[in-house]
Symmetry: C2
Subunit: 497 residues, 2 copies
């Protein structure tokens, strides 16, 4: 198995190692990428949005060049095989209520390849919360009741169940007035309303729960964005967890991504180039767009699909300039600074343990996810944010102490993680919108600009920030490209010829 330059492993004995083995690295690294050919389409980005677009177009007989800045497929979703364990380095969990993703699961015969991250290990330590500096252990019934009450209270905004005003969770703009109203509110605004309503414990859990999805800066998170995800996830905390962190692919996310990539490659219509950073897209000639990479090569195609993350778009030069609303949306895009960390700890008793902690500059949601391949240890998955926890590349030793401080029996053996925040190919984790952004810009972000189409899980209609949203975007972009290739839209420059 080849290794990606991305990803890190840290052990107290051996320190930090960069680069992880993953089947997401494709051999050969480049195939038939030609600067003289005019492709039917250039797809920029080999995450799920780009892979689906490339697969749909090549299977329709279109010649596609896939350009990817990273050295692998999958974008913010990839599986590393380290120490015999399949670590999901980014996007991980799936659910059959994610329609676009599940259709791919069906297509590649994977519907009997699901495993359960929340399977109960009866000898587990009780779940813990950390409020006011001290740990509290809970019985399953107690913590469930506290969590359900907290979440139900948080989302009963203006005394209504949110299905009352957003009945179609895949159609955020259905009820325009409430869309704008609740998009202008921040999570902090809602938390302020609940001051004195939720107990200190409930408030800390609520913040940890929301923060694990969207980061610690609650004034910069749209309330609507959180509500839509809550609706997609079934509107109870139990179902929220089932949708968010429960079901994984036995073959790993890279297993599914490879099915799609291999499918595209098997058509014979796919050219590709990895480790090729995008610099500029020129669509001033409506019949032939060009894409220039950082290494100076320029490729051309009749159509371009740009799937690079929202927070990276500002580093791309577009000729002609993008329409004002889209440009404004890109300029204002904010990064989600939450970090995901795999923590291998000694002992089996952490499998069904979980911890939730929220304090100033300190946000942690951590849960046991599986036993280690040896059967003796537990792999935890942690989501964290805040200066008191920080970047594991720099503060690994402090983080060992931090995790070991969560419980006297906890002993850290290993960290495995990727960096998305500094990465020039993501500049942050999955996308979460700030207030007053989505209702203004979502449509503009999705809008094609002539022969350049845009697709990303960062700005899909439904499961934004999820693999499903990326696939949704890819399906729509591929169809738009195919329609334009079959009958090019009328265009002033074309009709003047």
């Amino acid at each position: 198995m080849l290794s990606s330059a991305e990803g890190f492993e840290y052990t107290p004995t051996e320190g930090l190692k960069a680069g992880l083995p993953t089947p997401a690295v494709i051999d050969p690294h480049e195939l038939n990428a030609s600067t003289t050919e005019t492709y039917d389409a250039i797809v920029i980005g080999a995450g799920y949005a780009g892979l689906i677009t490339a697969r749909d177009l090549t299977s329709q007989g279109r010649k596609v060049l896939l350009i990817e800045g990273r050295d692998r497929i999958g974008g913010r979703t990839w599986t590393s095989y380290t120490d015999g364990h399949a670590y999901e380095m980014g996007g991980t969990w799936i659910h059959w209520h994610q329609p676009h993703l599940w259709t791919e699961v069906t297509r590649y015969g994977l519907n009997n390849q699901i495993k359960d991250s929340l399977e109960i290990y009866p000898e587990s330590a009780p779940q813990s919360t950390y409020t006011g500096g001290s740990r509290k252990d809970w019985s399953p019934a107690e913590i469930t009741a506290m969590q359900e009450k907290s979440a139900a209270t948080f989302f009963a905004i203006d005394g209504k169940h949110p299905t009352e005003w957003l009945p179609y969770p895949h159609n955020p703009s259905y009820n325009r007035a409430d869309y704008v109203k609740y998009d202008r509110m921040s999570v902090q605004d809602r938390l302020d309303q609940l001051d004195g309503v939720l107990s200190e414990e409930e408030m800390a859990f609520t913040k940890a729960n929301l923060g694990a999805l969207a980061g610690i800066d609650f004034a910069q998170i749209s309330l609507f964005d959180m509500v839509q995800r809550w609706l997609l996830c079934g509107t109870t905390q139990e179902e929220y967890m089932n949708h968010m962190v429960r079901y994984k692919l036995k073959c790993g996310q890279t297993g599914l991504a490879s099915c799609i990539f291999d499918d595209a490659r098997s058509t014979g219509k796919l050219s590709y180039s990895f480790s090729s950073s995008l610099q500029a897209i020129n669509s001033s000639d409506p019949r032939r767009a060009t894409v220039t990479c950082a290494d100076g090569r320029t490729f051309s195609a009749r159509q371009v699909v740009c799937t690079i993350p929202l927070t990276v778009l500002r580093s791309v030069r577009f000729f002609p300039e993008l329409p004002p609303l889209k440009a404004e949306a890109i300029a204002k895009a904010k990064s989600n600074l939450i970090r995901k960390l795999h923590v291998q700890v000694e002992g089996k008793q952490w499998k069904s343990w979980a911890g939730a902690k929220f304090a100033e500059e300190e946000l942690l949601m951590v849960m046991g996810e599986s036993h280690s391949p040896s059967g003796k240890d537990t792999n935890l998955v942690a989501f964290h944010d805040g200066a008191n926890i920080g970047d594991p590349r720099i503060k690994a030793k402090e983080l060992v102490k931090y995790f070991e401080g969560l419980h006297p029996d906890m002993k850290v053996k290993r960290f495995v993680f990727a960096d998305y925040i500094d990465s020039p190919f993501s500049k942050g984790g999955w996308c979460v919108f700030q207030p007053d952004y989505m209702s203004k810009y979502l449509g503009a972000l999705q809008e094609p600009v002539g022969n350049v189409k845009f697709a990303s899980g960062d700005y899909s209609d439904g499961w934004r920030g999820f693999i499903d949203g990326a696939i949704e975007g890819g399906i729509i972009a591929a169809r738009a490209v195919e329609q334009d290739l079959r009958s090019p839209p009328r265009h002033p420059k074309l009709t003047r010829i």
Copy 2:
């Protein structure tokens, strides 16, 4: 708009008229159907399974002949425009938890085209049940409580929530032991266990509720089959209704089916022939199968996809004979005899009314669905079974009396319906399995036989009996065909050449 020979309209003044206008009838009726060409694939059946297969294959550049016995697309799902109203003549409701269907909704940009059949009309008559010959009107809170209790009790089989033993509702065989165990049980077996546990009212509602899905003959309905649908629908009666009878497409089901058909046709790779009944499939030559129609024409192709309903398969001759298990499954297939009837009644007060009745030879679930185009009347949708209600083609007058007997204020203006039970193209409604059938035969029914693939919502893994299941089957069949076309499987006859 052209008319199909199918479908009926009855009014007390004008009596019964056969044939209904529908955009599902395609003009021209046949296109480039050639008996001399060898197609890449022949797809038999233009319901959703066949349409998806044909669309996927033609968009991949394959030459496809689509053969349909009916005079229209859609199979058991089609929309008739009668008296200004879009009547869904068969499959109607959709949900974003139906992944394969929702992916098509996304592809064709229809996710903002959903309407709500259960929208509350505040001036509605109270909902009614009919037990022991008398009507009882309920407050919304009372009937909800009774229904939730009844359903929860019915599905708490062996004291367990069914997610405990079937955690993956798209993978029925995940837990083989319980699959077989509960598949051997009939709905009647479970009802017998609840004798004395449910009240007479609760029992009547439970029977009406299950019977509306599967017909009146409870000893001939697999308990497992019902449980799987319950799991797919979210395991509360409220969510069951939301998944089953709530959300419709504004463009009608034929609107979506037309998107798929038009997409296939626009490739230039689609030939088709409507009103062509299938007689025989001969796959004895692995390189070239032939399909013979009732009019004597024989077509040939490298691959065949057979999507005709399970209960019709026994009327098709296969050469060579099908494998024993598949043949046995086909021979034993039973028809669902439930009927769907649109009932237009005078007045607006029936919009949020519903009635549930179960007595000997008498099963009725009826609900207000929309106001009529005039705004003055209500369109009800009824599902019924049993000799005391019967075939509206024959017993329309009695049925008028029957419905008017449900409530003193009810006055029937019109029936609109299709017959699927006598139709040679369906021989019954959507598929429901008898006990000890699915766990034995589901795999065999799905299994390809050489270059003949089988796809139908009647025997899909997930949403069996739903549009989603048909699309699931179509996706899998198209992929299997494409793989065989790219690299034909080794075969004794081939290697001998």
